[in-house]
Structure formats: structure tokens, C-alpha cells
Symmetry: D2
Subunit: 311 residues, 4 copies
């Protein structure tokens, strides 16, 4: 599909089901997508952090986009991450994703290499120029180790370089500054501001965000669709209750034992284990070198699902 006038609502970062050999399990992927679309999400974000984009080979990345784009057939907008270190490499990923059917590209600032705002600006300008497709900036300091400044985002929005922002930084104050300046006229109508802060969606939407990209939305898409609907109707009390319920469910990302694995293994493992327990994907397999949840940890994830009424 072509993108809507502005991206809004719930756009989950779709997990990438893998089979035990580490290859993309396309049957599980389309099944998961059907669950998400059936729950009423407003778009799909492929190849983001929760999709394990950082772990997928180039070939696997293309498989994911081709599979989903062909499956949804324009029913909802399909965004694809082009996660790599620098402009030339990001351009290649972006072109491959567009060729495979993506409607828009999501890209971070350069990482691994040491850059300043000057190089970051140049990166997004060059990327947008070379791919001639909508680009959303992905602000993810925990992975990229730099923060996109409000000034930089607003300049690139005003110049038409960026079509939107996916903000996964913890700093809601800077996020609000972007929203306020956009409302004050700093960019066109179509610029989409999406939050990745899945635990404070009500707060982000109160401030004016257009939508949310919740990793937990893979596991409970209905909950996030209800939450956003409450926010849109100004039902803040009901929104808060739904968000609190999702917040408790989110504890499933911390069940991987700290002594045995890092937080990344635990979070992705928690999501995939929950999807497997719900019967939406065939294997809870995560990509190397992540450490899989063991039986006891899996039971604790199951407990969270049961408490949330999802099992």
C-alpha cells in the first residue's frame, strides 16, 4: 500500500519466528501477522529491535519483508528497519527492503563509528536522497549510544527529509519538545511521531504522539489496541488501567535469570516464549548468541500470561 496521510495507532515491531536451525519460519511469521492484523493494529514494523534485525542475515531480512508484504497485500502499511552502521550499508538494506515490498524505511543514526550531529544530519539527508522513499528516524540510545536532538529532528522534518520519528529514548521531555514544535508549525501535516515507550503509551498520547510501536504488542495486540482507543476517546482512567495491566504483563521480559543471560536474551526470549505458549509461533528459538530461556523461566512466563488472561 502507499502510506496513509500519517501513520497512527498501534504498529507492533513484529517478532521474527525462527526454526530450531535459526532460519526464518515463514509459516509462523504469517500466522503471527494474522493475529496482529486481526487484533486491529494499524501497521507493521518489520526488522526492528524486537524483530532481532541485528541478528538476521541479509537474506533472512529480505525473506521477512517479502513474506509479510506479500501476505498482507497492502492491507496495512509495512515499515521496515534498515539497521546498520553507516550510510552506504543502510542504503543497501533500505533498497532491498523496498524491493521486497516495504512502504517506508526506519533507520537509526550511525553507530559503532563515532559521529556528531553534523554527520548524523548528513546521514539522514543522504539516505533519503538516495532511496527516494519515506524515512522514519529511529531514536534508540540504548543501542545506538547517541540521542537524536529535538533540533535535528525538527530541521529534518521541516526540510522534508524525514517522514516521521520512532522515539525509543526514555526522555519524554525532549519528545514533547518535538511534538510541541511540530504543532507550532515546524513541519508538514504528515510527519508521524511514534513512541516506542510501551509502558507509558497513555502519557505519550496525552502529549500528542500519533502512535506506538510496542514490543509487547506482539504478545497482547488486543490490549494495545484497546489502550490506544481509550486514549483517543480521552478515557484516561480506563487507559491507565489497561496500561497498568500491560505493565504487569511486561514483567515477562525479566524472567531470564541475570546470572545466566543478559537483558537482551531475556527480553526477546520472553516475547518469543510467550508467543510460543499462545500457539502463535511454532518455536521459541532466538538467534545466536542469545541464550534461550530454560524450563523454569518458561513457566514463569506462562504464569504472567495466565495472570493476564492470555493463557
Amino acid at each position: 500500500m502507499t502510506l496513509p496521510a500519517r501513520l497512527t495507532g498501534v504498529i507492533p515491531p513484529v517478532c521474527t519466528p525462527l526454526n530450531p536451525r535459526g532460519e526464518v519460519d515463514t509459516a509462523s511469521l504469517t500466522r503471527l501477522v494474522d493475529q496482529l492484523v486481526g487484533a486491529g493494529v494499524n501497521g507493521l514494523f518489520l526488522l526492528g529491535s524486537s524483530s532481532e534485525a541485528a541478528f538476521l542475515t541479509d537474506r533472512q531480512r529480505v525473506t521477512v519483508v517479502e513474506t509479510v508484504a506479500a501476505h498482507v497485500g497492502g492491507g496495512v502499511p509495512v515499515l521496515a528497519g534498515a539497521i546498520d552502521m553507516t550510510t552506504p550499508r543502510v542504503v543497501e538494506h533500505a533498497r532491498a527492503a523496498l524491493a521486497a515490498g516495504a512502504d517506508a524505511i526506519v533507520a537509526t543514526a550511525p553507530f559503532y563509528t563515532r559521529v556528531q550531529p553534523q554527520e548524523i544530519e548528513r546521514h539522514f539527508r543522504e539516505l533519503a536522497h538516495r532511496i527516494q522513499a519515506p524515512v522514519l528516524a529511529y531514536d534508540l540510545p540504548v543501542a545506538v549510544h547517541s540521542k537524536l536532538g529535538a533540533d535535528l529532528v525538527l530541521t529534518l522534518a521541516a526540510d522534508g527529509v524525514l517522514a516521521g520519528l520512532k522515539d525509543s529514548s526514555p526522555d519524554l521531555g525532549a519528545f514533547r519538545e518535538v511534538l510541541r514544535e511540530l504543532r507550532d508549525g515546524a513541519a508538514g501535516e504528515g510527519f508521524a511521531v511514534l513512541t516506542g515507550s510501551e509502558l507509558i503509551v497513555d502519557a505519550a498520547l496525552l502529549l500528542g504522539a500519533d502512535g506506538v510501536v510496542p514490543g509487547l504488542g506482539n504478545v497482547d495486540p488486543h490490549g494495545y489496541v484497546r489502550l490506544v482507543a481509550h486514549c483517543e476517546r480521552g478515557e484516561w482512567k480506563e487507559a491507565g488501567a489497561e496500561q497498568d495491566r500491560l505493565g504487569r504483563l511486561f514483567a515477562l521480559v525479566d524472567e531470564g535469570s541475570p546470572g545466566r543471560m543478559g537483558r537482551g536474551s531475556s527480553a526477546i526470549g520472553g516475547f518469543k516464549t510467550a508467543l510460543h505458549l499462545r500457539g502463535w509461533i511454532d518455536h521459541p528459538t532466538t538467534a545466536e548468541p542469545q541464550i534461550p530461556l530454560d524450563e523454569r523461566e518458561t513457566e514463569r512466563v506462562a504464569h504472567h500470561l495466565a495472570v493476564a488472561g492470555l493463557l
Copy 2:
């Protein structure tokens, strides 16, 4: 060539000359390699940070390794970086580099994703197992945002997973711990410990390091060859004088104006500008989104070369 019993001496991280369109300038690359080999370096490290590996596309990376491996024809060992975020992606780069003629692979811990020592250990084990070729661990906290612990390196050395360490962390205390424990018998004879700390080579070799991987060695390979020779003969005073001269020359990496560019642009720009001024490569072009040095900054680089007697 097959690797020597142990890598030693000067192994510069070879800059990757680009033409103004951003493509690999293979003629300049072989010319640069001839200069380095002619100066007496003991090996070549392709696709490292100073090689702009983070900026090169997969195709360009293969071109670099193929060009150099074919050109040197086994005359010196050729190491190749396999710089990417996670195990599956690093394995693909490593296989491509080995197929193109590399003798050994240099790889960092995972980055972008959040990992702990457990996942880092799993990463190196899986990598070595899957490529069946010598792997050197590359410790570069400024880019990778984690530090390889001495314990982890020593365990992987003792188990034969790693063939060496390229240490570009600033922490010489931890570096010495690795060297001391290796001497005390923690691993086999062949394990190579290389330092990337190009400003304190004498100190690193005093502690027992086997060799150095100096970015500035592109610009002044003769200097580093002399420096290492002094160290090997225990001529610490002469070594110190040579290292001090190289330390002054190193100021050329800081000539990119802070207001205009970041430190990465300035450093790589400084190296390539110096190589261009020396006539060793045809263009000072750096990869996107790095910002090139301007005329005034180029003159300051030229001044440093003149003072060092290289122009």
C-alpha cells in the same frame, strides 16, 4: 600464506582508498600495500576501524580482501575484520573474507544489541566453530560499548577458541593481566597479543605484547618498524624518542574542526589526507556520512607531515 606460529611486529590496519564516487580504488590500495610491505611491516589488517570497515558494503569488503590477498600472494599474513552486530552476520562476513583470501579473522563482541559476558563467550565459540579458521578477538570499547574481560579472553585462549587478541581498549592494566596469565601458562604458545594503542607501543611491548596495529602506521610505517625494532633490542630510550616523534605526528587526526565534524571524520580524514599528500593514494575521499577535511585543515595536516620529515 598460512599464519606464522605467532603474529608479531607491525600489522597496520590498512586504510581503504576510495575514489570520489565512494568506490574502492584498488590501484591506490595496492600502491599503499606496496609502501607498507616495502617498509617492512609484518602483516596487514584489512577491514578494521581505520579501514572504514563500518562504512563499506559487503561487495566492497570482498573487493578489498581479494585485491590485497592476490597482490601480496602470501608474502605477509593477511588478517580481515568481520565487523558486524551479531554471530550470524559476523559468520557471513568471515566466510566471505576467508573465501577472498584472508588468513585469519578479527571480530568484536556483539554490539547494538545488549549482551553480557555469557553471550559474548557464546558468540566467539560459535563463530570459531562455524568458520574453522583462526579468530582474533578485537577489544574496542569506544565502538562496541563493552569491554572484553581478561577472564573471558584467557578462558577462550585456553580452550583454543581464540588465536589472539587485538586490544584497542585504553586499559593497559587489564592488558597486562592477560599477558601475565598467558605467560603463566593459561594458553598455548601461538596466542598473539596485539595492541592498538599506537601512542604507547614501547610500554605495551615492555609488558610483553607481541605486536602493534597502528592506524598511524599507514602514514609512517617506517617509524613503527623502527620503533618495534628498538623495543625488541631493549633500546628503550631510542624507542621512546621514536614513539614521541610519532605521538607528535599523531596530532594530524585532530585537525578536523570540532565545530564542523566529529572525531571519527577528523581521524580518518587526517589519515587519508596524509596518504594523499604523500602520493600514496589518489584521493583523500572518506565514506559517507563522514565530513571531508577542507583546504585549511588539509594544510595543517601537511604541516604535521613536513615537521615529521615525511613531506
Copy 3:
């Protein structure tokens, strides 16, 4: 006064006026306090970061608390920061502040020294035990370089060690977790949750925060009192508009030129310059080694005040 059942509303971190010799200007201090109390604030937080507590000598700290406590005479609760590196030093500051008339103590985790959650927990337990007065934990990662975990805060709340939390971390997700668990019964009724995030007060109060500690509340206390009143009445649209107005005014903290000074000098300088321009304090003097705003920067602060209708 004794503390109210629970601290709520607007509790500004009171700036500490200094005369040109760097001594506390008590006349300006009481004048500023009169303005704040007259605007309807619900409490005063002395010796916080905006009060330049880090710069005041022990004697000056006592002068500030004595002056204000005597002046307000129990009219509003008076909180005092006990900002120092470790338990024994914090205990001394806390005792001095209580003796000078403070109603409660605000303290951070240890800093300068390297601590883990175990030592942080011990710090707060020992502090509360030794001073036998209400202690609020001050979470300020930008200064303290560690983050108070939600688990730790909840444990100390449940055990009656802490009387409240002043959260100046950017992570609203963790903040919400504390609020949710408190509502779910993790601690008694009296535990106060205050946010230092002065740019997203509406969002924080939507999530259930009890009050706000806004540095900008020195300059525009009426604005923050209106903002909180809107939030309490569920007038989120009006609250958003007021918060946006205050957000624009907040730009006055960035008028100190980056080339000339750091962000701390610029922010404290901006507040004090604004207070001086409003006629509420006699000198814009900031403590050493902060760099004062110059004439041009002062004019820009005046411009922000004029736009906000405060001059």
C-alpha cells in the same frame, strides 16, 4: 510544621540568592520565598540541585535552612537536601538541616564512590535510622551516575525507611512502575511520589504522581500552580497548553553559549538571571566555578520572560 499526611502539589527547589562576594543573600532569599508562597506553592525544597547545594559550604547550607524555616514559620513544609557522597557525611548534613528547622530530608544514593544496590539500600536504611526523620530518596542519575531501581524504592517504602521519592530521572516507565506498585499496596498511604521532570508534569500527574519539584517554578510559580490545578481537575487540554507555555519558557536555561560554558552554568545562570530581571533577587550571581551569563545572554533570557508575559 510537621509534614502533611502526604506531600503534594508544587514544591519548587528554591534557588539560593548570592551576593557578589558569593555569600547567601538572605534578604533576597526571603523575598523569593514570599513570591513562591504567595503564588500558592505547597512546599519548599531547599538545598537541591537548583539551589546550588553542591556549591554551598556547610555554614551557608545552614544559613539557608534557618532563614527560610524561620521566615515561613510552619506555613508550608520545608524539605532540605543533604547532598554529599556517603552515609556519614549525609548524616551530618541531615542533622544540621533538621536542627535548623527542616521538616524532612532529601538524599541521593552515594556518589563519587562506586556502589551497587546493596550499598545504596544500606545507605538509606542507616540514614533513616540515624536521623529519625522523614527521608525522601532523590533519584538524579545525571549527577549521581546511578539509577534507583523501582524494586529498591518499593522495598524501602514498604519497610517505612523512605517517606517519598523525588524522581529526576528521565525514565517515566520506571516511575510508573513505582506508582503502580504503590497503588497495588506496596507501601503505606503517606509515601509521596514527586517528579522533577518539569517539562512533562501533566504526563507525570496523569500517571499518578503526587507533585512536582520544578526548577523553573522559581521563575514562574504561578504557571506551575495553574498547571497542577488543571491536572487535578482532569483538564488535560488546558494543562497541556500551560505546560507547553512553560516548555517554551524553559529555553532560557540554554542561553549560556556552549562555547563559553557548560550546561550547568547556563541553566542555573538562566534561572538566577530571570529572577534578577523579575526583581525577585538582588544579584544574578552564581557560585564558583560556574561562569556567569554575559550581557547578550542576559538579553536573551529577558526576551523569553517577555514572551511569557513575565516582564
Copy 4:
């Protein structure tokens, strides 16, 4: 005593013995000082990080300086740390230490507050101007969270503001730059460059450092005196062997169990436990909120001492 023309050799940061009530144990302190002086150290550094300066009250800090200065009676130079957040507070500590008998003051850049090089320069200039006594800059990024730039140190050295540098940063490259520029004439003869890197003293002295401030020097002062003597005679092989022995002994700082305490508790606890086991101090007590070593951890420290021939 007045300071020597230049500080050189071994200057241990003297541990502060405490009794079980947390008060300074002056009898143990003088006994420890006697051991250090008897071993041939060249000076004493009181109130540094290994002295738990961050934990001592103002009164306790004065007690330490008075006790030691009176006890050594000018026999060796006595340096005192003035560890606090900002200029006015550091000035007060410095004056108190000088009045108590210190010969020179050691001070860090401001911390807790956010400063840039401009404020750091102003801090040292104001401090030196106000106390009119020798000031050594203390570069300790792990605690202060900023790094003193070589340029800044050299400027302050050339202007006579600083009498020396105590470098406890891991970056030996920057350290060498300071040493090289000083040799090239950037400052007067008397400027002392001391390293806090107790694990690479031979490397630091090879580069030209004047002396070392080793925390482990409390436990094995004879070892450090021998090590420096070897370096001064150019006996690098013997120096390396001695340093390796001390490096193995240094493992005693890691015996506090990670699950039970942070690295600070473990390191200071390790030093004091070792001093207690050697019979040099009466109690291994550390200051609050540090967690003491337990019996099993103490046994492991004893084992390290036994292996080193110190028990």
C-alpha cells in the same frame, strides 16, 4: 616539611584505619604510617580514594591530617586530598588540611554538577589562588565522570597553577602526551607527574612518570619501593617480575563477592583486611555504607598474602 623540588617515587594513598564505631583509629594510623615510612616510601597521600576520604566527616579528615603530619614531623612530604564537589567546598577542605599540617593539596575537577573544561579550568585557578599552596590535579574519571584533558593540564602547569598531576585514568596515551609536552618545555622543572595505575608502574615510569600512588602500596610498600628502584636503574626485566608479583597480589581487591557487594566495598575491604591480617591495623572496619568482607572472603585475602610471602 616544605615540598621537595619535585615529588618522586612511591607515595601511597594511606588507608584510614577505623575502629568498630567508625571513628579514626589514630594508633593504628600512626602504626601504618611507620610501616610505610620504614619501607622507604617517598611521601604520603592522605585523604585519597583508598583513604575513604569520601566517607570521612570533616572532623575525621582533620584528625587524619593532624595525626600523620605531627607523627612524621616533616620526615616525608604529606599530601592531602580535598575531595568535594565544587570550588567553595574544596577550598574549605584545603584550608583545613593545610592548617592541620599538609604540605600540598590534591583536588579533582568538580563532580555531581555538570561542568565543561571551561569550568574545570576556572575551578583549579580559583582554588590555587585562594589557598596559596601547591595543588596537584587528581584525574579520576571512574569517580569524577570527566577526564582532565592533556591541553588543560598543560595550560595550568605552564601558568604555575598546578604543581603536579595525579593520574588515575586508564588512558596512558594521554598521560604520555602530558609527559612529552612537559619535557618539550611546557612547564617548569618542578611539575610532578604521578600515576595511580598501580598495575603498570614500570610502563608509566618508562614513559617518564615521576612516581606512583599505589593503593596496594599500603599492603606491600616494600614491593613498590623495590619496583620503582628497578625502574630507576633501567632494570626493566626485574621491574616486570616485581610488578607481575604485585599484580597477582592485587587480586585481593576482588574477593568481596559480586552478589553481596559492589567493587568499592570489595577493594577497600580487601586492603583493610590485608592490613589487619598483617597486624598493621587493629580493625578491618570500613566506613558506611560499605559492606564488610565475611570470614570466607577474609580467608581468601589471607591466601593471597600467603602466596605473596606477606603472611
